[in-house]
């Protein structure tokens, strides 16, 4: 017994037992690679979106709001089931042309192309709400720089390791405020996808392994779990050890002070520190 598997490259024949059994719903539409995983439908053409926006603002915005998220007399179209169900104007077109007299919506004589453009604009508004990875973080420099400086040199003891004229000189030109806030809290971090500035440097963690024989070896920590530890020594050579009884492992985390502070900061202290670091330009 053989079954057919339709692929982009044509039809491949598999022997039964190995072959996937293909379900056949109507009009398969696979998500496309190279775009946010949150967006699985086609992204509309930019020029069509811009044309559609002009039409929408002029003709529809008075009731539906210029961003299509609803107004005094017209419903939200960003989360509208009908607008989400639409493909190229096939659902919204008839509503635009006939109006909804029972709900006070007049008919609009838009052309086919104009309706397609309005549909493209609505899809772009929906996708802007759907794709949270593109949301813009607003101004976060709201703290008091003087208080931040006092915290830096006082309660936070940041000046134990850092200096505004040394490692932190011009730090505000290297990172945008969002990246700066994230890095000051903990420098090894998942940065917001759109943050500006260079990739953060990795701060090495040092480890010393003492073997049962008393021999010690020190280097940059490469890997550690409950069972094994690995490091790279000053010559760049790799060493790994099983953590048997008698093997002592001493990890020196240079970020221990950040970890400690992270559990103590108030949000105001954090915002004050950002404001202070923003003065280092």
């Amino acid at each position: 017994m053989f079954r057919l598997l339709q692929t982009g490259a044509g039809i491949i024949i598999f022997a039964a037992g190995v072959a996937p059994l293909v379900g056949q719903p109507p009009q398969p539409q696979a998500p496309r690679p190279g775009r946010s995983f949150l967006i699985s439908r086609d992204v509309p053409d930019r020029a069509a979106v811009e044309r559609g926006q002009k039409i929408f603002v002029a003709r529809c915005g008075f009731c539906h709001g210029s961003n299509a998220n609803g107004g005094e007399s017209g419903p939200d179209l960003v989360r509208s089931v009908l607008a989400l169900d639409d493909e190229g104007g096939d659902k919204i077109g008839p509503v635009i042309r006939s109006g909804r007299p029972d709900k006070g919506m007049p008919a609009f004589a838009l052309s086919d192309d104009q309706i397609k453009d309005v549909a493209a604009f609505l899809r772009s508004r929906q996708q802007a709400a759907i794709d949270r990875s593109t949301y813009t973080i607003q101004n976060i420099v709201t703290g008091d720089a003087k208080k931040g400086q006092a915290y830096f040199n006082g309660a936070g003891r940041c000046n134990t390791c850092h200096s505004p004229t040394g490692d932190l000189a011009k730090i505000a030109t290297k990172y945008d405020p969002v990246a700066l806030q994230s890095r000051l809290v903990y420098p090894r971090t998942q940065r917001p996808r759109r943050a500006e500035g260079p990739e953060p440097k990795t701060v090495p963690t040092l480890v010393t392994v003492t073997l049962a024989s008393g021999q010690t070896i020190t280097g940059r920590l490469e890997y550690i779990d409950d069972f094994d530890v690995a490091l790279r020594d000053a010559a760049g050579d790799y060493h790994s050890f099983t953590r048997d009884a008698g093997v002592k492992v001493d990890v020196r985390d240079p970020l221990a002070a950040h970890e400690e502070l992270l559990k103590k900061y108030t949000d105001d202290e954090m915002h004050d520190l950002v404001a202070y670091l923003e003065t280092l330009k």
Partner: protein
């Protein structure tokens, strides 16, 4: 118990003609069969098997390994998050759009089914439900698919939610009586959540329970207006548990929408972030307990609510416990939802304590703000969907927990925000396996893995005095459940990505675990 184990091979031989599931198995502890997502209805993930035990686990070795092959055009995350079912010597499991049957003794593939997708977020699939000869699973584009267990051929598919509204589905259906209980997910565009029972023969709707009220219904006064509650979220994305004596189905519900912007939905936002008890025959709500009133941090209360038959003040009690994503451990009376204990299992900074009903009181200062709010736990939570375990022999509830900080930003300051309305950026996390005394909420022991992200592993406990789970470093580990001492480990190709399960065939116990795209079966050879 011993007698029963001796008899099983004989019974199995007598029943060789059937591959389907005897529904009576759903009401028993999982021995030679693992017939439902959690092994049985209780959500305890405690196995009575003990051939692999604390005295021989050091000799546990690989029996077989099976690596999935999705074929050309594979989409999305390929990690095995499903807990396989094991029925009459065959394992059944899924990843998004794909399903397999393999021989439970050898790992040999029997069949592979592939669904051609219409889209939807391909983030994971938690597996099958089974009714007689039929298997049921959900897809990212929200189809419920019924397959013939014998050969993987499709019997029918029905749509259970609209992918164009940004629903996507991941749960394993749970079979209670003749109801296929299915849930839905999706919080990108503020759609309302619901749970449905579907007919096992046709897939048609038997009942629907909405996780947010409609206008005029009980609970509507916890929302500011009709539009907010009908766009209020409350997804039903993790399989629930069931008490056959009380005939109640217990479900943890998802968070309210918009996820991080709460200004358009002032109020408690029922029944989001709640543990609810439903009649599985009609979907009627018996009681609710809200774990996170007015959540703004993506902390759903979808984590498995685990049934515990315990003792409180010397009295036998029907209890239910959850280690919730917001960092609280809750213990309730499962007959009426009355709270008995609310205690954090990590240090958290968002709550001002609990109210008279035992429900946490959120601190408005720790809601997302435009300039960033530093909150523990992060949006991924102190716990998440990976199944916990309760061991009735130790009286301890086990959970892989994450002490994680995140900066939460409010990005949509409109009166009526849409979508998430905010974003968060994780800054630090520390993962630990914790053993919680269910009566007091005290952490009896904790095994910390250090400052690192992770925590996607489920947990299994057994009568062999063993606890199995994964660490964030790709190790599959056996612990002593009483003390937290490590007894055995094996490094796998990836982190443990599902809930480990176990079964016994021909007098041989197998320990099965998924890690990335591979299933591993371990055993102790006799």
């Amino acid at each position: 118990m011993k007698l029963r184990r001796l008899v099983i091979p004989v019974l199995a031989a007598a029943c060789l003609s059937g591959q389907g599931l005897d529904p009576a198995k759903l009401l028993k502890l999982p021995v030679e069969t693992w017939p439902t997502y959690n092994g049985d209805y209780s959500g305890r993930r405690f196995s009575p098997l003990s051939r692999i035990n604390a005295s021989n686990v050091t000799a546990m070795t690989l029996a077989w390994e099976y690596r999935i092959n999705m074929g050309p055009g594979a989409e999305g995350d390929t990690s095995i998050k499903a807990t396989p079912l094991e029925v009459n010597g065959v394992l059944y499991f899924t990843v998004p759009d794909h399903a397999w049957a393999v021989d439970a003794r050898t790992g040999r593939q029997l069949w592979h089914y592939k669904w051609e997708t219409h889209g939807g977020i391909h983030i994971g699939n938690r597996g099958f439900g089974m009714y007689g000869d039929w298997l049921y699973f959900e897809t990212p584009d929200n189809y419920l698919i019924c397959l013939n267990a014998k050969d993987g051929t499709e019997r029918w598919h029905v749509e259970i939610a609209d992918v164009k509204q940004e629903y996507f589905s991941t749960p394993a259906p749970i079979v209670v009586h003749n109801h296929i209980i299915v849930g839905v997910g999706g919080d990108s565009l503020d759609v309302p959540g619901y749970l449905e029972a579907r007919d096992p023969e046709t897939g048609q709707v038997q009942w629907r329970w909405n996780s947010t009220p409609r206008k005029g219904e009980f609970g509507a006064d916890t929302w500011p207006n009709q539009e907010a509650m009908e766009h209020g979220g409350g997804m039903t994305w993790v399989p629930g548990t069931y008490d056959p004596e009380l005939n109640l189905y217990y479900l943890g519900t998802g968070n309210p929408n918009p996820v991080m912007a709460g200004q358009g939905r002032k109020g408690d936002n029922l029944w989001t972030c709640s543990i609810v008890a439903l009649n599985p025959d009609n979907g009627k709500l018996a009681w609710y307990f809200q774990a996170s009133p007015h959540d703004t941090h993506d902390w759903d209360a979808a984590q498995t609510p685990v049934l515990i038959d315990g003792q409180i003040n010397g009295q036998p009690r029907k209890l239910i416990a959850q280690a919730s994503r917001n960092g609280y451990f809750f213990l309730l009376d499962r007959t009426n939802g009355k709270n008995l204990l609310s205690k954090p299992f990590i240090d958290l900074n968002w709550s001002k304590g609990v109210d008279a009903k035992g429900q946490p009181i959120p601190d408005p200062a720790k809601e997302p703000h435009t300039n960033g709010t530093l909150v523990i736990p992060a949006s991924g939570g102190a716990s998440n969907w990976p199944p916990p375990s309760f061991d009735p022999e130790t009286g301890l509830f086990y959970v892989n927990s994450s002490s994680s900080y995140s900066l939460f930003y409010l990005t949509d300051i409109e009166d009526k925000p849409e979508g998430y309305g905010g974003r968060d950026s994780g800054v630090w996390s520390e993962v630990a396996l914790k053993a919680i005394d269910y009566k007091t909420g005290q952490i009896r022991w904790s095994h910390e893995y250090g400052a690192r992200p992770g925590g996607g592993a489920g947990i299994l406990t057994t009568a062999g005095k063993l606890l199995f789970t994964g660490d964030p470093n790709g190790n599959f580990i056996a612990y002593d459940p009483a003390t937290g001492r490590i007894l055995w480990h094996s490094h796998l190709i990836a982190n443990v990505s599902n809930g480990p399960m176990t079964y016994e065939l021909d007098g041989q116990q197998y320990l099965l675990v998924g890690a990335g795209d591979s299933l591993y079966a371990f055993t102790v050879l006799h």
